[in-house]
């Protein structure tokens, strides 16, 4: 049993942690709601958001981010389910070598890849296109996603796939009818994480799509917008930052229960 003292102490630590985590977020929201200099508004106002939206061209860049994130999440989830199944359930001969190869993908810093990537896309003519952002991000999410799914599937009893194969299912049918539906909470948690990484990706966007405003993603737009407006209207920049972060927050709240469930499943099973 925990003593009352321990409970109070534990909660105090959690409270301090929560305050530290929330402070930047709350301060930026408060700033976004404060009237900008030269505005006629008083008290709280939403006009900074309208101003950021119209001046920063965020409708286009948010749509671009959505297209990129959606493509990366869907492709990564499908690829990770397939690869995770092969590595954990089929146990094919070269799995250790493949895991080692994936490990390289996990430990290699993204900065080390960016120049070769630039050269690759420049030579293929894909610079300044959606592909320049989608393809590398699928590749960089794939190792973690595969580990995630392989680990999840490895925890399921082997007899599940054996029972299905005796029931007459082919390997693909076992994945489709048994492992894919059972692994859905793990896939959703994974998708949430990949969405977060992809949405916030800045470096790749900066290097690989610098000259085409039509395909620029939201964080890049935010950076350009902030660069232009920094000295004059911080309130509008704060509003723009909230707009860019909002989809991630909304996605998290929608998937929160699944997300926590997915994170815990691996721990308690």
């Amino acid at each position: 049993m925990e003593s009352k003292k321990e409970v109070v102490f534990g909660h105090a630590i959690l409270l301090i942690g929560a305050l530290i985590a929330l402070y930047p977020f709350v301060s930026i929201i408060l700033q976004a709601l404060t009237p900008a200099p030269g505005s006629g508004a008083e008290g709280w106002t939403l006009e900074n958001f309208i101003s950021a939206w119209t001046r920063g061209g965020f409708s286009r860049s948010l749509l671009n981010s959505a297209i990129v994130a959606f493509a990366v999440v869907v492709a990564t989830a499908i690829a990770a389910m397939l690869a995770g199944y092969v590595l954990s359930v089929l146990k094919f001969e070269w799995r250790v070598a493949v895991f080692a190869l994936l490990m390289i993908g996990l430990v290699l810093p993204s900065e080390a890849r960016i120049i070769p990537l630039y050269n690759l896309f420049a030579s293929t003519g894909l610079l300044n296109s959606y592909w320049a952002l989608i393809l590398p991000q699928i590749a960089s999410s794939f190792p973690l996603a595969t580990f995630w799914m392989a680990n999840y599937y490895a925890q399921l009893p082997e007899s599940l796939s054996e029972a299905a194969s005796l029931d007459g299912a082919s390997e693909f049918e076992i994945l489709r009818h048994i492992y894919a539906p059972i692994g859905m909470s793990a896939v959703l948690t994974l998708s949430c994480l990949v969405f977060l990484f992809t949405w916030n990706e800045f470096m790749l966007a900066l290097v690989l799509m610098p000259d085409n405003v039509a395909v620029q993603t939201a964080p890049l737009s935010l950076s350009f917008f902030a660069g232009n407006e920094r000295t004059t209207e911080p309130q509008v920049i704060a509003a723009a930052a909230v707009l860019v972060a909002l989809p991630v927050v909304v996605a998290y709240f929608f998937l929160q229960r699944r997300f926590m469930q997915g994170l815990l499943e691996g721990a308690v099973k």
């Binding site: 007899s159 599940l160 054996e162 194969s165 005796l166 009818h177």
Partner: protein, 355 residues
């Protein structure tokens, strides 16, 4: 339905030989129980019949078809797993109908077959539930239902009752036996529990360290064990073994106690033997000068019978008595036995001498 012909089957994992040449003929419609201690290879053999393990040597035939290289999904064999292996995201009805759905059988027909199987197993009110909402016994029935629906050539059971409590285990044992009597499908059943083997089997195959020690009807293994391993494994409490030698046509233990023997065995005079007698074949006698003297150590009354631990000279033995005896720890009793129920074993090879 089909016979199963297992011919000199071997299995090795690396350098370890798990099965060292197993041959079993399972007749069409027979209930065969593979029994043995943990690690004897019984589950491995069952998994090889199912196609879940490769065969290192020998042949497995189902009916007239050689199965060695046939993948599990094409063997038409159903298996009930120890952990049931139910699909957690499907309802009971979906679990049972899964194999038929894969075969693209019309929905109405699947429904009909699932309902028929559910009727047999008493699962009708549970058809729309998921496995997590079922008790252990109900899950066990669903696993059997999944097998029944398919109407397979052979049923395999891999220790299906070991996760159930004692009472439910007895109940499910009867249900599986009655299911076999009803369906008359060939069944191979793996267990480490010799009571399950004795109560359910048409034929018991007793395995040890990758070999068959003895195969035959349950009472044959009980009454005429081929060796000390079989004699010690089948029957509970286990058979008593006393080491000694044959002197002047009688058995004398190493501690000097003379035990009753019927006909003086030929060719064993002066030889070392192991005297085997089942606990239920020991009797307490009151006439003076009859039987061997033993000291009572522990008394375990169980209502219908009483189990008594005794020391005979220095050897520890167990007796099971159906009559009510007035015994106390430390007291002395005189024991005798039916000479027909005595077995003599070779102490080196463990084989039973034919008396």
């Amino acid at each position: 339905m089909a016979s199963v012909d297992i011919r000199n089957v071997r299995k090795s994992f690396g350098k370890t030989d798990v099965l060292k040449g197993i041959s079993i003929d399972v007749d069409d419609g027979q209930f065969v129980v593979l029994v043995g201690p943990s690690g004897c290879g019984k589950s491995t053999l069952l998994r090889m019949i199912a196609g879940l393990e490769t065969i290192s040597g020998g042949d497995i035939k189902v009916g007239d078809d050689l199965m060695n290289a046939v993948p599990p999904k094409e063997r038409d064999i159903a298996m009930v797993f120890q952990n049931y292996a139910l699909y957690p995201h499907m309802t009971v009805a979906q679990n049972m109908g899964f194999s038929l759905k894969l075969k693209k059988i019309p929905k109405a027909e699947i429904r009909k077959k699932v309902e028929q199987a559910a009727e047999i197993l008493g699962l009708t009110p549970l058809l729309e539930r998921r496995p997590a909402q079922l008790s252990g016994g109900q899950r066990q029935r669903v696993a059997m239902g999944r097998a029944i629906v398919r109407d397979p050539k052979v049923f395999l059971f891999d220790e299906p009752l070991s996760n159930l409590d004692a009472k439910l285990r007895v109940q499910m044992r009867t249900e599986i036996k009655s299911l076999h009597q009803r369906l008359r499908t060939t069944m191979l059943y793996v267990t480490h529990d010799q009571i399950e083997a004795l109560t359910m089997a048409d034929v018991i195959v007793l395995m040890n360290e990758g070999r068959i020690e003895q195969a035959g009807p349950p009472l044959e293994l009980y009454d005429l064990p081929a060796n000390m391993f079989v004699a010690g494994f089948i029957g509970s409490p286990a058979m008593n073994f006393v080491h000694g030698r044959i002197e002047n046509g009688a058995f004398v233990s190493t501690k000097g106690v003379t035990l009753p023997l019927g006909v003086a065995p030929e060719g064993l005079e002066g030889k070392d033997v192991v005297y085997g007698v089942r606990p239920e074949h020991l009797h307490v006698v009151t006439e003076p000068g009859v039987g061997a003297e033993a000291e009572v150590q522990i008394i375990e009354p169980a209502g219908s019978e009483t189990q008594v631990h005794l020391t005979l000279g220095g050897d520890e033995i167990v007796g099971v008595f159906r009559e009510r005896l007035d015994l106390a720890p430390g007291s002395t009793v005189r024991l005798t036995t039916d000479s027909a129920a005595v077995h003599l074993f070779d102490p080196e090879s463990g084989r039973r001498h034919i008396l």
